[in-house]
Symmetry: C3
Subunit: 329 residues, 3 copies
């Protein structure tokens, strides 16, 4: 029989008070596909509690003594900062690794080795990586929970969760709403994941985009199979009045083979106070940010402009996920 | 009437125990111009308390649960590290954003959007930016306090405050002192701000510089209008013996059209033990750092060399400012 | 008599509860040469306690209120992350300075000035620097403890300590073991330091390397003088069966003048399951990491593969050192 190191080496720090029966304890967060409607209700319930706690006391010590390794292979200030804040508001600490391009990992070290190194130091790993499938690969080797913070053209599940949580908190419910997605629906990772998550609810979805930037057919068919009413448009006008949630993404010039075509269409996808004047009184305007010109700054004062609150909801969702995978929620 | 999101969304985390009646609570720190003599006395009183606490117990939990976003658009290790330490010695946490050049904000995101993103996560924002006016622009949009940590050729108020606090702590008072500023007085942002702050006191100021690097006329006139005695020299000799505070800045070669002129004058602005031998027994030598050659290393052992202590005073001043704007001092 | 600033300026924060009689309190950790066998026993005893604590409760507040400045002049993600985690698991805080190349220190500031700046903010400084002797230079000027985290071709004492601690924890003892070092023994800083530390014990050491990458003669002679049995080989076969610790390092192509020679020899230094099948049942396989091809990934599941546990031991050793130099162990 080969040499067996002492058993306790295998599972190093399992502090007292972990609720191992809790859903998602020790689980990876890799894809929106892993969440059924029950799961979403649970996550949003915890996120709502987090929000109440932050509003009341700012921060608390639920994850005191826990360490997050924030492993970013490509820069994403917003997402990285949001996870740092989430961990710190829960009393935990962070190892920030933002310079992967300069570090040993670019000198040929494999992602599995890097992940197994970091889990020697940390309790949970948040991973941002330019390649699709990176989070799943990391999870295959990790003993500690991996949270996917975006893997290339793949998934960005915490963004989709925060988008959905924003709708729930702002409008009280998701069932029965009409959601209109606007802009680049072809390459926009966030709208793909959001559409998939919305298919767990009774919603109507409108897609408004230039023809070359339509929502991919496989996603449309996937939602069709679930009985979600969907409709496609090239302008916002026909659906603006019925829209409860207007989700805006940027139309980027480099997506067009013919730049002249870009110049002709882009203004149709810019939200101004004039556009908002024709929208419902009770609706919200969302954007995954960064925003460049696609929502003008004079819209920011409109109470329906929810995009800055959306980031705050992201904080609560990430607090919930961290607490959940660490068995503390 | 347009849709109103629940009121509490507007002002997220106002924890218990905030002293909202405290001066500077929720205020931005943008410019030395905002501080009257009373304000300075108040700030220095708090900074002195911070110093006493650090000397006695190292750190304490005054800002536990609070988060600082340290937003540096250009590197400044010293200032960034000082704010991180200040927040940590008060029990708070930090989101460090040092890589703005690689992040989404350089992909076209405006400073107001970045600031409004970060305030969704943090309680206070320290901003370093290469453009004059950046801090004021950020403050126009921010709901949370902005602390200006240097905006280009504009202001660097916390540096000026720590310079003044150093003088007060080392010499017991500011009134009645003779301050001599040496070196590059034309481009040196720190000496401009310090001169303005000193004008709140009864001091005499000497300016010693090459003719091309004289103190700007508008500052000289501003102090003249306040009755501050000022005199200009090209060498230190005439004023060394009367100087209580010698504030040295670097004369940089690139400021001279004629490099030969630089080589001819630079040695006149270097502090050596020989120079110090002719200074008062009770005086202090200051420098905003980094220092290259303008104070030789064999001066460091001189008890009058206050520049390393100056950095420690910077820690206390920044602790005071953070506690004040967060309503805890 | 020259002006004396108040005495307390000289030694700023010495909180209550420091055990100044503790060994290593306030000491620098610069070189393996400073550790006698007694010292090693003491360090490993503290590291073992740290391990027990982490296994039991994850983190604790021994260094609460203490600040580590993690000053990395060259990137080393693994070492930096390990020190951050060590400080955070002890309840302390970190100022991370990873971007020295962009900061003022590259604008001509000397290492002594940078160190004296940081000690105005922090309680202990971990220094990684590309130049041999940098840590000793820093220590000459610092009032606070310096921990050498690698200085070029010089020392990396905490790596050697964690290597030795790994052997002790995994195999229960060091005396009586046969240690085989494999690969590049000429340029590998880690094997040099480890060999020196091992010479404090009763061990047998085998060196297995291509002839051009042999262990340097001065180290061999140094160990000879201490009566350590040593033997050199070019293949692993003759010593594999007697080996208790197999320490693998990478053979890099760029070390060979003749690339064809590299291609001919490199496979002889790769560890596969087939190699492990011929090793003892009770032995361990170590590697300082990063690993590229020199241990194949199908060895990772072997319980004798200790390299991921090795990183965890590194955490405990660094926790011990931080606690010790800060007078808390």
């Amino acid at each position: 029989m080969p040499f067996q190191p002492p058993q306790r080496y295998q599972s190093p720090h399992l502090p007292f008070g972990d609720r191992r029966d809790a859903p998602f304890y020790g689980k990876h967060i890799l894809s929106v596909r892993q969440f059924q409607r029950d799961d979403l209700a649970y996550i949003f319930g915890v996120a709502h509690e987090m929000r109440e706690m932050v509003l009341r006391i700012g921060a608390f010590d639920l994850l005191k003594g826990k360490i997050l390794a924030n492993l970013f292979y490509e820069p994403s200030t917003r997402t990285a900062a949001s996870f740092v804040a989430a961990m710190e508001r829960l009393g935990g600490s962070v190892i920030a690794i933002n310079e992967v391009r300069y570090s040993s990992v670019t000198k040929g070290e494999s992602l599995p080795d890097t992940v197994r190194t970091l889990e020697a130091y940390a309790d949970v790993i948040v991973l941002r990586h330019p390649q699709e499938g990176a989070a799943a690969l990391a999870a295959r080797y990790a003993r500690k929970p991996i949270i996917n913070a975006g893997d290339g053209t793949g998934e960005h599940p915490t963004q989709a969760l925060l988008d959905l949580f924003t709708i729930r908190e702002e409008l009280g419910t998701i069932d029965g709403l009409t959601i209109t997605m606007l802009g680049d629906l072809r390459y926009g990772r966030t709208v793909h994941s959001l559409a998939r998550l919305l298919s767990r609810y009774r919603v109507k979805i409108n897609y408004v985009s230039p023809p070359v930037l339509r929502m991919p057919r496989d996603i449309v068919r996937e939602l069709e199979a679930k009985g979600i009413p969907q409709a496609e448009y090239t302008t916002l006008d026909p659906v603006l009045a019925e829209t409860d949630v207007l989700y805006v993404t940027r139309v980027q010039k480099e997506r067009f083979e013919d730049p002249a075509l870009y110049d002709r269409v882009k203004d149709a996808y810019v939200i101004t106070p004039e556009v908002m004047a024709r929208a419902k009184d009770r609706m919200i305007l969302m954007h995954p940010f960064p925003r460049v010109y696609e929502i003008t700054m004079d819209v920011d004062q409109d109470p329906r402009a929810a995009y800055f609150r959306q980031m705050e909801y992201g904080l609560y969702v990430r607090m919930a996920l961290l607490a959940m995978v660490l068995g503390k929620a």
